[in-house]
Symmetry: D2
């Protein structure tokens, strides 16, 4: 794909697979709106006052139908938006097309190369020249792509190097304009906290992941839905009767294990954390090490956010046509490099994002989904609209807060979570759609348990 | 699509969508073989003796990857095979292509018109001229398509009429050659028993549906898998939190209700049979009439095998974007005719097999899947290989029996079920793949419960 | 306990533990009546016409609160009733007392010895002298208790021998008066069919067990309820996290496995029947042999109706405090004789029906419930009223049928099942209590699926 | 029961129901020890160093078999212990007897009156005279029992008043000696935090409830076990098919709802908190208000920790024999006072802790368990040993910490939670018993996710 920015008739930039899919995308966006009451309520509540007037928002988040509803919520509130996906396989092309045509600058398509991916990211961050021009950089030193042997990181360094050659103040200017960041993944948030501790966080950040209505919904119920969806679309395999290994029993792992168990699989969990391990046992799941079961299981799912979970040496020992996939975070949960470089290994693509890798010694193969990247987005369409409405309503609220307080100093260069009453508000916005009716506290009940009658109802450390 | 029979280089007839998909089909067939131990065991056990030598087998059964493995099992045992699908949307084109290219005469593609469908059926039945020519028919009377107002039946009558004009003895000759039939659907079997009672059954039939390893597996566990699969692929809707109505609580309904409940829906069952209704209540499901819940539910699934379950008058009262689909039998479970002819109704195709129908009074719409036909085959890929291996191993055994006994008079023009020891054998062939280990009866235990140590283990009326 | 028959003030015979518990029994009987709509409907429908006028009914069935409601339904319909329990531990003494005081001749208490048990059975069968006296038996030969080494059978033979000494025509006369039998256990029915085949069945029998509303409800849902109930009352053990072995996956085993899985145990099934084994795998249960898991499991439950399932040699290898219990049929599912006679074994009674057996080699012990007899009746109170109402309504209907047709020759000396419309009626009588609402077939729907609009709705071989 | 302290031969004080039950208690304590690996590990690890030497520990906690194992763990570590129950119905008399005879000063029996309850509490707190005698109190003012109309609080004030009359410095001295408190209930902890905020907390407190291994285990999995246990023992009611209302969907409510759903009930949740309500919907549970369902449901369970949840006006509208029970906290969740004083209401005791209350207008009744107090302790035996081992190991660790640091000033007059590594340790101590095997982080993995390889593995706000 030639990496040239295209423009709509109104002059907005974009780069997508095929703009003719915009109509199809629009139809599915309209369906999703009915399923995303939180975002639609934001439009109703905040739209008239245009609180994002003047705000430029860059998003790096799977460019799906649900994200399209998020983007159009941001623009409905007055923002100007540029977007890229955060995964090379997660874009839904019809969603990207509809947004590119109608609403925002999108740079995303399903099946980007790593080069393309980082080009898209650059484009999404590129809001054009900032204010005054600045002096040349004092030192001519630029990043050296050869300083790493991680293929993806080499690409990043190359892009930074080349960008600095063109505009030595590029990232400095970018930072100057940056009001703040909202982040919704467990792994992303972990990095932000590390930067805060190291003193390298250059802007305020709101940790949306740790809203209850995000991590206890999207991570858990989203994956409970999308893991079997991805397995079915990619492989059509019967889950009932199979032995499935879920590596990690955090929120994502809990959702995956529940889905597999309910579908009739026998689920084995691997864990490092004794508390999560004990939770697994209480649900009737066996807790073992990967080594204990590597030759017996039919389906392997990584959910850890860590690296080096399933190594090529494990994969060699698996049963013929064992399925290996990742729904955790980066593709390094599975040792894709080890697999690709295994002497004599043969890769047979069944269909995009479904590959059979055959080992020379045994002539048996394993099925790897989405090249080790997030299988629910690579092989299916990610999480469904309703649960993403919870997550994304948190995002909108976080962005509104950052923008509103951009000059007040309320937020320092730290990581914040949203206050509990907003978390409860997000939940409340989603109850009506499901026909749920809340009970109201009487004043004397509220006093008895020492909470305001209108909430928040729980102490900060409550675990839900 | 021009209805012209094509031929392979070896001269075998076929008509499929796109023969270039054969390689893809072959890859998926190879994956499915690993998941279908019963069929592969038949190849091993019976292949060497070629028991189907000389047999001509016509199949009318969803032309999926799993059916491809069935067809190639039949050919591996010596049969010559012609095939069509039994549903206009259920063909997987890559499966049809691989079979057409490699193994058998196939006439099937996804999205046939009704005319095309019946043309395909004719082709699958057309084994060329039979033995001796016969005299002209005494009466010149042919079927009158105008004698019915059912659009599909008009097409059937037309084809019969036209066929009789060409060859007045066509169906007589067909019957003469017919050794027997094996049938695997609940509805199809019901028709065969009606014909037996009416004395119009012209050949022996084996009721494969009532093998335990068919109806208690394919119908139940197959639908438990493929209903959410179809819902997800067609609509991406979040099932958790929704109210779902399952019409009918037979084996299919039980599988559907289990899947929806496990995915987090609140399931309501409608039933006519008090026993099945009481079963539903014992699983915590509410049993109501459709009228009670038509305005409250989000998802409606018909599983009855009956007609007129969800009428247009019901659909008018549903919530905006309620999903309506059928996984029972014919498309008349849903009143598609009433919907299509509703004054002012508007059909918006989101994507193939996913249509939104908008009513003029309310301007709200409902989502109908697969045009009211089987949604698991129309919107997804049907049942997974493992459970189909159970069903299809029964089919192979039934066909072997019919062919072997074709001249012995063992089977009269009646409907038969397979003996229990064969049913148990089908199950046994599938246990190893799942790592299951059976216990063996000791002689004294066998004597104590009065069964042979090697089975069969249950009385005929045992319900499992 | 001195084996003397007592009499109420009205002269009705009985032998129970403690008549002062009658008030307590009456209160619980009244609660149970609300939960047993089928039996109460029989009283309403049939009570006025007194169809059992003149009928003498002997029952041998666990003398629980639920059975009390059955007995009083029989008496409400005009019968005279004598009753014993069919298990030495299953009587609820307050139930027996209330019935003895108020309604029928009862001979039952919790914790009978085997001698007492068979004495009670004799009393329940003893309706006093029949019509005309008969001549002396020609042969003086009586059963020899020494001809068997089964302790319980020795007692039976002794009682028969002694009875024949007193009245040589005793059983002949009994048979003469016997109109028929209705039997509700899987094992009991099996024996009746064996007698039918052997030509030794001396009376008509109705197989109530194979009513769907019995075997698919009582056996399945009853055990799903009463297995954990028995485990909890006997041992207070936490089921979550434990490894549980369920021997047998018939209806009883299915109910037990479901209960244990849902409570958070990891369940392993042992099976001889490949079909049932494959069903277990489809529910995510591991199928292994007892030998595979005997040292790893925490809870062992037999549900087979067979003998020699868990032998003392298995028990020796179990973990310390492994729980061993039977919910199948006779106490020979567990090798109690082997355990009791194991050299050096020590029995420590924790409380009645909960014994710890310590092996001398390891000084570790296992917990055996209800001395190997039905643990749900020995350690808890058996199945709950609602599901027993289904079973017992079948009993009442069967008894009514036998009595009504006693002189018509309708029933030969064979085993019969109730016709399906009565089975459906039993279900229908239980739906209202649960708020369920049935859908009605339209005439055209009924015609379409070829069933009467008012049922029966399924062919005889339908499995539910 | 005469309120006189008794003494063992060794002179230790006690007051229990019946010391002859001590042998039975000892047997069950020995069984429980096998199920409580955390407590037993504490004995092994800490016993030799006798860290509680000199410590006097008063416990107010349900005097069950599990608590007995806790008490004997404290004494095994060197403590001197006095104990009372914290609920008038929760004592298991055989447990109390065994402890009284063998290990500690116990004042507890099942079925205390409120007067007796507070007398027991006083005795447990009464460690005899402190060090130096103190001067008379300056003010003669004592609490006035007539200042409240809460019957129980009147009793408390009376006891305090009478105690002050005897020893005006009684509570002052008690406070002086008090090193700290560990508290394990949600409600108790809430009070401690209120005291901390109000500045009235007179000692350091460790909040054991908010250890993950307590609140996410005992509250959740404990209630999932003990709710059906209590229902079954009290009423023998069939749960399947019933409509059950669970008031509150916190950890306790989640456990209860799961248990009822799994047993086949249809569960409806009432909630004030939109987040918890949304969680319920995601599990397929309907969320309504009590008013919506009060006339339809069969079983009502309160789990809120709040008051006035089910009022007499609700109870009047319930179905005949609806079951009403509380597993939350105090008996004021159910309006027992309103019920008891309802004009013309009639109380029929079926058996202890199971009462039927009949309303005069309708002559229908409801079944109230444990007089509105905790039904799992009143009607069954509370939570099983294994999960209590988690809770109580936290207690032991908390007590060890308070005692060790009693003079170091580490703990101020605040509420503390245990550090996460101790929480993880508690979990780890329980994994071996269940056969679970943990995975170990490699150094590079630990670095990648920035945690120590040996834990703790999660940030403080992680919700599990």
């Amino acid at each position: 794909m030639a990496l040239l920015v295209e423009k709509t008739s109104s002059g907005r930039e974009y780069k997508v697979k095929d703009l003719t899919q915009a109509d199809f995308g629009r139809l599915e966006i309209e369906l999703a709106e009915v399923e995303m009451p939180g975002l639609m309520a934001c439009r109703t509540e905040f739209g008239p006052s245009q609180p994002f007037k003047g705000a430029k928002i860059t998003g790096s988040l799977h460019m799906t139908i649900q994200t399209a509803v998020l983007i159009e919520t941001l623009t409905a509130l007055g923002a100007e938006v540029r977007w890229c996906s955060c995964n090379i396989f997660s874009t839904q092309d019809h969603a990207a097309s509809a947004i590119a045509r109608d609403s925002a600058a999108v740079f995303a398509w399903k099946g980007e190369t790593l080069q393309e991916y980082w080009w898209c990211t650059e484009r999404a961050l590129d809001w054009g020249p900032g204010g005054a021009e600045e002096e040349f950089a004092k030192s001519g030193k630029v990043p050296d792509p050869n300083s790493t042997d991680n293929a993806e990181f080499q690409i990043v360094l190359t892009i930074i190097r080349d960008g600095l050659k063109t505009d030595p103040k590029k990232y400095h200017k970018m930072k100057e304009r940056l009001v703040g960041v909202s982040e919704e993944t467990t792994t992303g948030v972990k990095r932000l906290y590390q930067m805060q501790i190291a003193g390298t966080l250059l802007f305020p950040a709101i940790n949306v992941n740790d809203s209850v209505t995000k991590s206890k919904f999207d991570n858990l119920y989203g994956c409970r839905h999308s893991l079997p969806d991805g397995l079915m679309r990619a492989t059509d395999v019967m889950i009932a009767g199979k032995v499935a290994v879920v590596a990690g029993y955090g929120d994502v792992g809990k959702g995956c294990a529940a889905a597999l168990k309910q579908a009739g699989a026998r689920v084995i969990v691997t864990e490092i954390d004794p508390i999560c391990a004990l939770q697994a046992t209480m649900e009737g799941l066996q807790v073992l090490t990967l080594e204990d079961v590597v030759s017996d299981a039919d389906i392997f799912v990584t959910t850890t956010g860590n690296k080096d979970i399933i190594m090529v040496d494990h994969m060699r020992k698996m049963k013929n046509n064992a399925i290996v996939c990742n729904i955790g975070h980066f593709d390094n949960e599975i040792d894709m490099l080890g697999l690709e470089t295994y002497p004599g290994v043969k890769k047979i693509t069944i269909k995009p994002q479904t590959d059979r890798w055959v080992f020379p010694e045994t002539n048996t193969g394993i099925i790897v989904l989405a090249e080790g990247r997030l299988m629910n987005l690579g092989c299916a369409t990610g999480h469904p609209s309703f649960v993403m409405s919870c997550s994304f309503t948190n995002q909108v609220i976080a962005q509104l807060e950052l923008w509103k307080e951009k000059s007040t100093g309320k937020y320092e260069k730290k990581v914040y979570v949203l206050p509990k009453h907003l978390d409860e508000k997000v939940a409340a916005l989603h109850l009506g759609k499901l026909g749920a009716r809340l009970t109201k506290l009487t004043p004397s009940q509220a006093e008895y348990i020492s909470v305001p009658a209108e909430g928040p109802y729980k102490p900060p450390n409550y675990r839900y």
